[in-house]
Each structure stands twice: as structure tokens, then as C-alpha cells.
């Protein structure tokens, strides 16, 4: 298969027509460059004829509009007329975008104070299953990751008494009548109901109702037991840096102090004050 010579010439003519347009769009002196390259590539223009199958040669020496000797002179001229009208369009892309009128500000953004940490103390009542309810106190350290999610570590301790058992079971259950129950837990919390609390007509305080769940350990009567806890709480910010909160949590762990191993549900109700820093 050989491409007929006139078709091949036509192809060159089309290429030769196109390339100067592209070049002219790139740079203005393209019209000058084309005639210069034309004489150099003229010898190259001959070899492509026997090997028309190769696609690359026509691209590299695109200048050879040479076949009709009158054409190179004639073609660039009509192009140079319309081309300058095309030039302004691509050029603005290289142009600098309009400089915004930026006002300088003295604020140092990188040192914005944040208060995502919280530290708090709480107190309330802890109901140890089978052993009655006693006062509980503790502390918590938390970190607010997003507006919804926070994590906290909680430590608390309460007293547990087996006085009721000692009424009918001389010697009781514990070595001594009163034992200290200590727990620590790592919790994740989610603010399910963020909102505001309105005090009178002029004050609104940010608040949130949250759920928490976590894992930890309870040490009690010489045993250390894995503990699961979950609960519900509410926090009201008095200011950006301090909040009041109430919590209701259930601490579940299993123990065998009454003979058989069973899960103990220990409900705790506390109120506390938390500081953010």
C-alpha cells in the first residue's frame, strides 16, 4: 500500500498549515522562524517521500510546506493577518492575576490559644450491688477531639461496707467491714444533643447531652476486675473555660465474692465541675 503522492502532499500542506498556527500562538516571532527552518528542512523533505508509513518525520519537520514553492510565501501571509487577533486570548493565562489588595493584620494566627483539654473533679453516689450506696469522689482528664467526640480518663473511689451481711454472718465477707473500691476507666464520649440553655431573656449557655462508654478496671476486696462502663451525662458551660456536669453511669464487672461469679451492676450518679485548658 502506498499513499498516492498527491494525498501525501496534501497531508504536508495541512500539517504545514496547522503548525505555524500553533507556533504563532506560542510566540510572536514564529512567522520568522518558519521560513528559516524551511530551507534547512528542505533536504529532509525529500526522504519522507519514499517512507510515508513513518508517522514521526512529518511532525518534526513540519515546516516543509515546501512542495509548491509559491505556497510558503503565500500561506504565512494570510495567516499573519488573523493570527494577531488570536494572540491576546491565550496570553492572559501567563499574565499575573490581579494582585489582591490585602490588608496586613497584626494577628498571630499560629498561636491561637485552645482549650480542648479538660480536667475535672466530681462527687456523688456509687451503688455497689449487694453492698449498698456510698459516697464516691474522683477526677477526670479529658480531651475533645472534635465538636462531637471526646475521650476521657476517669478515676474514682468509694467505700464498700458489708455491715448488713455482718448482721447475720459473723465475720462478714470482707476482711474488714469497710473496703475501698477504686476504679479507673478510659471512655469515649459523643455529644448527642448539643444545644443551649436559656437563663432569663438575656443569657444563653452552651450545653451538651452526651453518651459515654468505656473500659477500665475496678479494684475491690483484693481483686482487680475488668470493668465496662456506659452512661449518659450533661454538661453546661458557665464560661468558655468551666462547665458543670452531671453523669449517670453503670459500671459492670464480675466478681465471685458471694460464692458464685456474677456480673455486678454498679450505678453511679455524680455531679462535677470541669475546667478547660
Amino acid at each position: 500500500m502506498r499513499i498516492p503522492v498527491p494525498a501525501f502532499l496534501l497531508l504536508f500542506a495541512v500539517l504545514g498549515f496547522c503548525v505555524p498556527v500553533v507556533r504563532a500562538a506560542d510566540e510572536q516571532p514564529a512567522t520568522e522562524a518558519a521560513p528559516q527552518s524551511a530551507p534547512q528542512s528542505a533536504p529532509q523533505a525529500a526522504p519522507p517521500v519514499p517512507q510515508p508509513g513513518a508517522e514521526s518525520p512529518p511532525v518534526t519537520p513540519p515546516a516543509p510546506q515546501p512542495t509548491p514553492s509559491a505556497a510558503p510565501a503565500a500561506e504565512p501571509k494570510p495567516q499573519s493577518g488573523p493570527l494577531p487577533t488570536q494572540l491576546p486570548a491565550p496570553q492572559p493565562a501567563n499574565d499575573q492575576v490581579i494582585e489582591p489588595q490585602v490588608e496586613r493584620r497584626p494577628v498571630k494566627v499560629p498561636h491561637i490559644p485552645s482549650n480542648n483539654f479538660e480536667v475535672g473533679i466530681f462527687g456523688g453516689a456509687y451503688d455497689t450491688e449487694n453492698f449498698g450506696t456510698n459516697a464516691v469522689g474522683g477526677a477526670r482528664l479529658g480531651y475533645h477531639i472534635t465538636e462531637d467526640v471526646f475521650v476521657e480518663a476517669v478515676y474514682g473511689q468509694t467505700k464498700v461496707s458489708d455491715a448488713t451481711f455482718r448482721l447475720f454472718l459473723p465475720g462478714g465477707i470482707f476482711p474488714t467491714q469497710e473496703q475501698i473500691l477504686r476504679y479507673y476507666e478510659l471512655d469515649a464520649g459523643y455529644n448527642i444533643l448539643p444545644g443551649e440553655i436559656f437563663i432569663g431573656r438575656t443569657h444563653a449557655k452552651v450545653s451538651a447531652v452526651y453518651v459515654v462508654a468505656g473500659l477500665g478496671s475496678t479494684k475491690f476486696d483484693g481483686q482487680s476486675n475488668e470493668t465496662v462502663d456506659f452512661g449518659l451525662g450533661m454538661r453546661v458551660f458557665l464560661a468558655d473555660w468551666v462547665s458543670l456536669q452531671v453523669d449517670m453511669r453503670d459500671h459492670v464487672f464480675s466478681m465471685d465474692i458471694l460464692g458464685t461469679r456474677k456480673d455486678m451492676q454498679n450505678i453511679e450518679l455524680t455531679t462535677g465541675v470541669t475546667f478547660f485548658f
Binding site: V102, V107, I112, T146, A188, G195, V206, S217, G222, D240
Partner: protein, 217 residues
């Protein structure tokens, strides 16, 4: 202010009502950050909370070069300290561990772990310090490896009679997988082998598998 306007909410959350709008080219003063919300004060003295997304195009002190977005990106790239917790099994007993990681480089970190195992008959506490290699730390799902040393304490429950507590040195090796849920939050699962050097002639091996999450400060 680079955005056409920013909205001031009454509280640091998406649901709080918008009570004021600051226009472009107005000045604001950023007073406080709480999670991704910034408390700003307008030139007119109004105080409200603005989401990070709206402040990203705000321009900083030195004019137009460094935007708020760059500052936040710097924060992200410079994050180093990570804290996490996980729950799992330590030789079939439930365990809980807590760790702090400090990234020394993109692919290299040091980690301190404290853990507690709540066995039926005894409790075990341990701590160890590890060196972590994270060869693919640029991936969202990222394997990592660690080795370390520490101490392990075994305390029998009081309901056991005449049991003794033991304390020994230990070494551990760890393989794990981290998945970056968001720019701050990471899910992590790891498997570790602990070797406790109980005496000169005796060692005890434990295997643990845990799953948990950690976050960057």
C-alpha cells in the same frame, strides 16, 4: 478576611444559630480555639464561633503569602504526639492498654505503653517502651512494626491462697495495622509477642492481640 463572608455562631458547633455575619475585608480577632471552632471578635465587638472551614482563606498577618489553610496544614504535617488506647486479649485474658507515641520522623516513632490484664485468678500490669518503624506512613492503611523492652508484674487475686506475685523484665515484638480515619483519628489493630524473663533459666511467652484507637494532639 478572604472569604466573601463568615458566619458567627453562638456556640462551638454546627447547630448553633448564626447571629452575625462578617464581610470580606473586615477585621476579626481570633481569641480561642475549641476543637475545630474558633472564637472570634469582630471590629464591632461581637463575639461568636466560626468553623475552621470558613477561616481557611483568612489571611494572616504578613499579607497574602501564608494563609490560614497553610497554617493548619503545617499543624497537620508537624503533628508528633499521639495518644491511644486499646482493648484485647493477653493470652486469653482481657487486657487494656494505653500508649503515647512520639513520631521522631515520618517513618520512625517511639512509643510508651502501659497495660493491665484482668485475669480470672491474677492480674498483670506491664509497661514497655518500643521503637516503631512505619515504612508506609504516607498510606491511609499502614502496617507498622515495633520492638521494645519493659517490665511485667503479676499479682494474684486475693481469693487465691498462697499465691505469690512476680515481677520480671520482658521484651516484646509487635506487628500492627493503622488506619487513618480522619486527620486526627486512627484505628489500630496489633499483635504482639511478649517474653517475660522470669528467672535466669525460665522465660514465659505471651501473645496479645488488641484493637483500639488513637488520636493526634
Amino acid at each position: 478576611m478572604g472569604d466573601p463572608y463568615i458566619e458567627l455562631h453562638t456556640g462551638p458547633g454546627r447547630g448553633f444559630p448564626i447571629f452575625f455575619v462578617v464581610e470580606r475585608n473586615d477585621w476579626i480577632e481570633i481569641e480561642l480555639r475549641h476543637t475545630d471552632w474558633f472564637k472570634v471578635r469582630t471590629a464591632g465587638g461581637k463575639e461568636g464561633w466560626v468553623d475552621r472551614g470558613q477561616l481557611e482563606n483568612t489571611l494572616t498577618e504578613a499579607g497574602n503569602k501564608k494563609t490560614f489553610r497553610d497554617v493548619l496544614l503545617d499543624d497537620y504535617l508537624r503533628r508528633r504526639l499521639e495518644v491511644g488506647a486499646a482493648w484485647g486479649h493477653f493470652a486469653s485474658d482481657p487486657m487494656l492498654k494505653l500508649w503515647t507515641t512520639y513520631n521522631l520522623a515520618d517513618t520512625f516513632a517511639i512509643e510508651a505503653t502501659a497495660g493491665q490484664v484482668e485475669g480470672l485468678y491474677s492480674g498483670t500490669n506491664f509497661w514497655h517502651v518500643d521503637l516503631l518503624a512505619e515504612p508506609w506512613s504516607d498510606r491511609r492503611l499502614e502496617p507498622f512494626f515495633g520492638i521494645g523492652v519493659g517490665r511485667i508484674y503479676n499479682l494474684p487475686n486475693a481469693s487465691l491462697i498462697s499465691a505469690i506475685s512476680t515481677t520480671s523484665n520482658m521484651a516484646n515484638a509487635m506487628v500492627g495495622l493503622r488506619y487513618h480515619v480522619s486527620d486526627r483519628l486512627i484505628l489500630r489493630i496489633d499483635w504482639a509477642a511478649y517474653t517475660a524473663f522470669i528467672s535466669d533459666s525460665r522465660t514465659q511467652q505471651y501473645q496479645t492481640i488488641t484493637a483500639g484507637l488513637s488520636f493526634f494532639f
